[in-house]
């Protein structure tokens, strides 16, 4: 691949360098260095595109991996620059094959091969348990929905998959689904990422996802109208279970947005709406800012990841939450670790788990 073919010329041409994206970027906020801002990275990509900077240049690779890929720069961009695509293209060129960071190679092949799929088969047998009778939701008439189970979630948080299936009655959980390819696309293998998403998209029906990262990736390949987040699917079904009570008072519940769900899918009001029915919703300051999990980022750049999440710890410490809700498994892993290290008592749960809990409480005498 020659330097001029890495990026889509039109996408790269959209940026007019206005700088509106700078204050939204977590890595720019950390450093104050324009090289680690969205506009700076786009300038760098242009220099690569023009052959002025080598794509494997050390400083250029550093920026390619320092970016969280959180896409917080997208909704604030008046020119509509598709930054998420551009950074995927850059990584695709920088991380191809042997240059891919060692630590994520096993992860990708893990997601790629059959192992997870077999594992998923076992999980799905659990997932088929019948929903609680006081189920909050009944399938909308004539709906044709399939639940897409994120790889990361299936292996780390199988309870989330079960809770999602249980609280979305009528949803189909295909036996043979593979990885959606988000992991590949975000880590330097755009082609494979697209191929895997395409396989999912070839199935009929609306794809429901419990992972913001997967949802945004599939939507980019299959179209936004083919994919909904769990919260959207739940709200479509109408009724929600009543509040979760703790010592007789409604539970205090906060949310950590998923970057790709918020910035890539435009879903941020829906999970809040669901939570408001389940207890006393508390807006965590900076809920929309990246938690530093950022897919494989927390694995590859642990120190930076912790610097990114640091302001949240201070914000959470004063809120005294009962639950901190997440809507993406990467965030779940990150926030569990963060809260444990900070010795905060809030329980980190996926939205689906919280809904299942509320439904179970409603059913209990």
């Amino acid at each position: 691949m020659s330097a001029g073919d890495i990026f889509d010329a039109e996408e790269l041409g959209t940026c007019i360098s206005c700088g509106f994206c700078l204050p939204s970027c977590p890595t720019y906020k950390l450093t104050g260095d324009e090289a680690s801002s969205p506009r700076g990275r786009i300038a760098l990509m242009r220099a690569i595109d023009h052959g002025e900077v080598d794509v494997f240049d050390v400083a250029a690779r550093e920026q390619g991996s320092f970016c969280l890929g959180c896409r917080a720069c997208e909704p604030v961009c008046p020119a509509g620059v598709p930054y998420g695509n551009l950074i995927e293209d850059l990584r695709n060129a920088q991380w191809k094959g042997r240059r891919r960071p060692l630590r994520i190679r096993p992860l990708l092949s893990f997601a790629d091969r059959g192992r997870l799929i077999r594992l998923a088969g076992r999980l799905r047998r659990h997932a088929r348990f019948s929903p609680p009778s006081a189920s909050p939701a009944t399938a909308p008439e004539g709906s044709d929905e399939i639940l897409m189970l994120g790889c990361f979630e299936r292996s780390l948080f199988p309870a989330v998959s079960r809770a999602a299936a249980a609280t979305l009655p009528g949803i189909e959980v295909p036996q043979d689904q593979g990885c959606c390819g988000a992991l590949h696309a975000h880590n330097g293998d755009v082609e494979r990422g697209e191929e895997l998403a395409r396989r999912l998209a070839d199935r009929p029906g609306r794809i429901v996802s419990t992972a913001g990262g997967c949802a945004a990736h599939i939507a980019a390949v299959a179209g936004r109208d083919r994919v909904v987040d769990y919260s959207e699917a739940l709200l479509d079904r109408g009724s929600l279970p009543g509040p979760i009570l703790i010592d007789g008072r409604p539970a205090r519940i906060g949310l950590q947005d998923s970057c790709h769900l918020r910035n890539g899918m435009g879903v941020s009001a829906e999970p809040r709406k669901v939570i408001s029915a389940l207890g006393a919703y508390v807006e965590v300051p900076g809920a929309g800012d990246c938690c530093g999990a950022a897919g494989t980022y927390a694995l590859l750049r642990r120190k930076d990841s912790r610097r990114v999440v640091a302001p949240k710890i201070a914000a959470l410490a004063v809120l005294d939450l009962d639950f901190l809700v997440v809507v993406n498994p990467g965030c779940q892993r990150q926030m569990i670790g963060v809260l444990r290290r900070a010795r905060l008592r809030a329980r980190v749960v996926h939205l689906a788990e919280l809904v299942a809990l509320a439904a179970a409480e409603a059913e209990a005498p």
């Binding site: 700088g19 700078l22 204050p23 104050g32 324009e34 990275r41 080598d54 240049d57 050390v58 509509g80």
Partner: protein, 465 residues
């Protein structure tokens, strides 16, 4: 480019690192790429190093170092200049002031704030709002622009008609001269005539006279309410006539901004506010003050708009709606890139009464040249921003826009106007400056520059060069 580029490079990073600390210096070419440009299309330069000083002392030492060696220094805030003011056209050191971003104090009795230059306009506005105070200058770039950059360019905003531009709010500065000496001018005093008015001189000096390291800014009590309204017109000329009508009726609203049809469509495409995309032009008007007062003024303006030919005029019912309208207006320029990719923008200004004539000539020039030109601006200030939109790869389109802009400059000067109302001269407007100022004034500017910066290291190729 100077030979220093290669001569100085090997030890430059280490030398500067000893002053500001190694992590705050960068000399690797790939890491310098973002500092080649600002928000101006078509201008770039290759810096030798970027330095991020943490305090005045470090700024002073960097300048002394550079001055001794004749290395150019380009002060930089957020790099949102639209006049290539922050572009290192002559190479040298880019002095990025974003690390100096502390609000030192907010004094609700003196109505002042003391800030470092890297504080963003919006951060100050938010911080003073917590004290029920108001910092009025709000350029479209306020989200990101720094106060140092605002003062160095004397930035205007969306409330200029009633509140004036940045210059009206600069009470004092601390500045570092090219040789590293630190001076203080003005301050918290309301009255002070000791010496020439250096505060005023340094305001709008575009980094060519000194580096601003601390600013004492004036605040106002926060108005109780703000309301914004919207009127549509058949064309920009009708809209600018209505502006005349409002001012002639003795009303000086806080906001009077206009957008032409192309801008309305670009903004609507981005912000989806339900704007009327069939309208030929739109006026955004608004006022602030006590609730009763604002309600009356805004209703009165809406009536005047209709009287002067508005096809419709309505007033926002909720604060959020007002804010959405204003922020949409702030996005007009970047949103316009949706029309072609690259944008070249002008900043011409005329006395308010001549705005309809200026707008008529802009339209005429654009039509004749066949270039795509969209116009928005601060109608109340007589300041128009015609924007040429083109495909960056298409040289024919680009030169058509450039030719149209030469004519627009000439038209503005002919009407007794200016080639830049608020964005500044930078490298982009320097070639046109003499046409407006004349040779005697150009020579005077050069002598002033010489007095501040005898070696000529500060932002060479810009004002005074």
């Amino acid at each position: 480019m100077s030979t220093l580029a290669t001569d100085a490079a090997p030890s430059l990073g280490a030398d500067l690192g000893r002053i500001v600390g190694a992590p705050n210096v960068e000399t690797r070419p790939a890491a310098l790429v973002p500092y080649r440009t600002d928000a101006t299309f078509g201008f770039s330069g290759i810096p030798w190093a970027v330095v991020r000083p943490g305090d005045t002392e470090e700024v002073s030492r960097v300048l002394r170092f550079a001055n001794d060696r004749g290395i150019p220094v380009v002060p930089r805030g957020a790099g949102t200049s639209l006049a290539a003011g922050a572009v290192p056209t002559h190479g040298g050191i880019v002095l990025a002031l974003t690390r100096m971003n502390r609000i030192a104090s907010i004094n609700p009795i003196d109505l002042t704030a003391v800030v470092q230059p890297g504080v963003t306009t919006q951060d100050l506005a938010r911080a003073v709002a917590e004290h029920r105070l108001y910092y009025p200058p709000d350029p479209g770039s306020q989200r990101v622009s720094t106060l140092g950059g605002n003062v160095a360019t004397n930035a205007g905003g969306l409330h200029g008609l009633k509140y004036g531009n940045t210059a009206g709010y600069v009470l004092g500065v601390e500045a570092v001269l090219a040789d590293g000496q630190v001076i203080r001018a003005g301050g918290q005093l309301l009255k002070d005539v000791a010496g020439f008015d250096l505060v005023r001189l340094l305001t709008g000096s575009e980094g060519a006279l000194a580096v601003l390291t601390e600013l004492t800014l004036a605040l106002r009590p926060a108005p109780a309410t703000r309301t914004t309204g919207l009127a549509y017109f058949a064309d920009l000329k009708a809209a600018s006539n209505a502006v005349r009508g409002v001012v002639a009726a003795g009303i000086l609203p806080a906001t009077l901004e206009f957008l032409d049809a192309k801008c309305i469509r670009a903004v609507e495409d981005y912000a989806q506010l339900g704007l009327d995309t069939d309208a030929g032009a739109m006026l955004l008007f608004g006022d602030d003050g006590s609730a009763a007062e604002v309600e009356r003024t805004v209703a009165e303006i809406a009536d005047l708009m209709r009287e002067f030919g508005a096809t419709s005029a309505q007033v926002a019912t909720a604060a959020a709606e007002s804010e959405a309208l204003l922020s949409a207006r702030r996005c007009a320029l970047p949103a316009l890139s949706r029309l072609g990719g690259a944008t070249m923008l002008e900043d011409v200004g005329v006395p308010r009464s001549l705005l309809p004539e200026l707008v008529r000539r802009i339209d005429e020039i654009a039509d004749e040249s066949g270039a795509t030109v969209a116009t928005f601006g601060h109608a109340g200030d007589g300041n128009a921003h015609p924007v040429g939109c083109f495909d960056p790869g298409d040289h024919e389109q680009r030169s058509r826009v450039a030719a149209a802009f030469d004519d627009i400059f000439a038209a503005a000067v002919e009407l007794g106007g200016t080639i830049t109302g608020e964005h500044g001269v930078g490298a982009a407007k320097l070639p046109y400056l003499e046409a407006q100022l004349g040779s005697a004034q150009m020579a005077l500017l050069a002598r002033i520059k010489q007095a501040f910066d005898p070696v000529g290291i500060l932002n060479p190729g810009k004002l005074g060069s």
